[in-house]
Amino acid sequence: MSISVQHISKSFKEVKAINNISFEVKEGELFGLIGPDGAGKTTIFRILTTLLFSDKGTANVAGFDVIDNYKDIRNHVGYMPGRFSLYQDLTVEENLEFFATIFGTTIKENYDLIKDIYIQIEPFKTRRAGKLSGGMKQKLALCCALIHKPKVLFLDEPTTGVDPVSRKEFWEILKRLQKKGITILVSTPYMDEAALCDRIALIQEGEILEIDTPKEITKHYPKAIYNVKANNMYKLINSLKKYEHHYSVYPFGEYVHYTDKRTNFSTDILKNYLVENQFSDIEIIKTTPSIEDTFMELAK
């Protein structure tokens, strides 16, 4: 196991940030912690990177205990915090050199690992980090986290606030790093990114709701889901919520995802109800649940 977490809890005064969390990440795995702001993701990262003590439980990273061998862990992991944490008044090149030196290595020695990413920011290597765009900062931070060739890479919400194109590029980079044998623990509030991980833990309010492969997780969804559409979205949501047999009603892009309480549900019954309520252009089609559907059902 590359990461092993056993029954970890942490409170800040009265607030329970994480409660009895356990999970394991295999060597070379791309593992996702999926959950919203405030779920406890950052607390887990800080404990695993030895920046914070847990109240209870034990954890191992790259074969080292987070308390007894914290110095070894620091030499063997890369950490990209959610908040941009490089030196804003050093240039791109200076930041990278600084982190290489701290870890007793040189840019040259491990250039292979960062080459793909670094060439994209190299034209700006004399620019101060504080003056970079969001996307470039993110790439520089990743380079700095990789420069000592870590065994395990921790990425705390690397794509929050990043547009879909840059997000896609970033995940392609992660897949390439994984092929080079680096274990990656990544957190994200974007449910569509969960599908790109080998395994995921869904987390909310400090507790893990479920751990599995993205495919298996969606199989556990207990109900049949229907895509429903009609001429007026706002009225449709209200009408479906008033419908006595509804189990859940959530807008999902151009459709509403609808589930019903009854076992003998048929689309015709629902269609009749919507026709009676003056809707037109009604569409009701069975669909497959997404990770987001599953998350919402578990978090209910």
Partner: protein
């Protein structure tokens, strides 16, 4: 009434020295419309929005917002609109109630009006238990819902939302959009930016900015047809990097 334009933009341009952040964009937004304003990071969305809310003077071009000209009457624009963003929403070290009172005052509401609005808001959002809590102690989802309501305190004609749901959990994200639907249904125009492409599909119309220009503008359905895509995510990926 529904067809009248509440935002009219013509060749609006903003240059910073040699760099053209917003390059001659033109579009109209109808009253009561939910208008999605999309683009990659650095495409110029925030710069364009700053001009529309009257806090940045355009280099050239023209725009009317809520009946006022961005060059001549930016102060009146500020009074006629609401604004919230992910980065700035409420004061963390004030309580929920204090925030409502403060923003009500800023928007020029009387004490009596503030009192009425405050009661209404507390009731509507079910804030009874947390009205006297510091905003810093609330989960992000709550903050964003309250911030949205606070930005509507003075019954603005348009509300500008800059990535209002970033990082918010999926259930709250949907509750937030139901609030947006309700607001638009009451006749308030909603101008919103987002990086969630499923949210783009909730909009009546969507524009996509690339390198300072608006490269596409239509209903989500027509954009999908135009770009031969199955969803808005595909449309965005095809457009935003050529």
């Amino acid at each position: 009434m529904k067809q009248e334009s509440i935002i009219q933009v013509e060749n609006l341009t903003k240059k910073f020295n040699d760099f053209t952040a917003v390059n001659a964009i033109s579009f109209n937004v109808k009253r009561g419309e939910i208008f999605g304003f999309l683009g990659a990071n650095g495409a110029g969305k925030t710069t364009a929005m700053k001009m529309l809310i009257g806090i940045s003077t355009p280099t050239s071009g023209n725009a009317q917002v809520a009946g006022y000209n961005v060059f001549k009457n930016p102060e009146n624009i500020k009074k006629s609109i609401g604004y919230m963003s992910q980065k700035f929403a409420l004061y963390d070290d004030l309580t929920v109630k204090e925030n409502i009172t403060f923003f009500g005052g800023i928007y020029g509401l009387s004490r009596k009006q503030i009192e009425v609005k405050r009661r209404l808001l507390v009731e509507e959002l079910g804030l009874q238990d947390i009205a006297n809590e510091l905003v810093s102690s609330l989960p992000l989802g709550w903050k964003q819902k309250i911030a949205f309501s606070v930005a509507l305190l003075h019954d603005p004609k348009i509300i500008f939302l800059d990535e209002p749901t970033g990082g918010v959990d999926p259930i709250t994200r949907r509750q937030f959009w139901e609030m947006i639907y309700k607001t638009a249904n009451n006749g308030t125009t909603v101008f919103v930016t987002t990086h969630y492409m499923d949210e783009a599909e909730y909009c009546d119309r969507v524009s996509i900015m690339v390198d300072g220009k608006i490269e596409a503008l239509d209903t989500p359905k027509n954009l999908q047809k135009q770009f031969n895509s199955e969803n808005m995510n595909d449309v965005f990926l095809k457009l935003a990097r050529g």
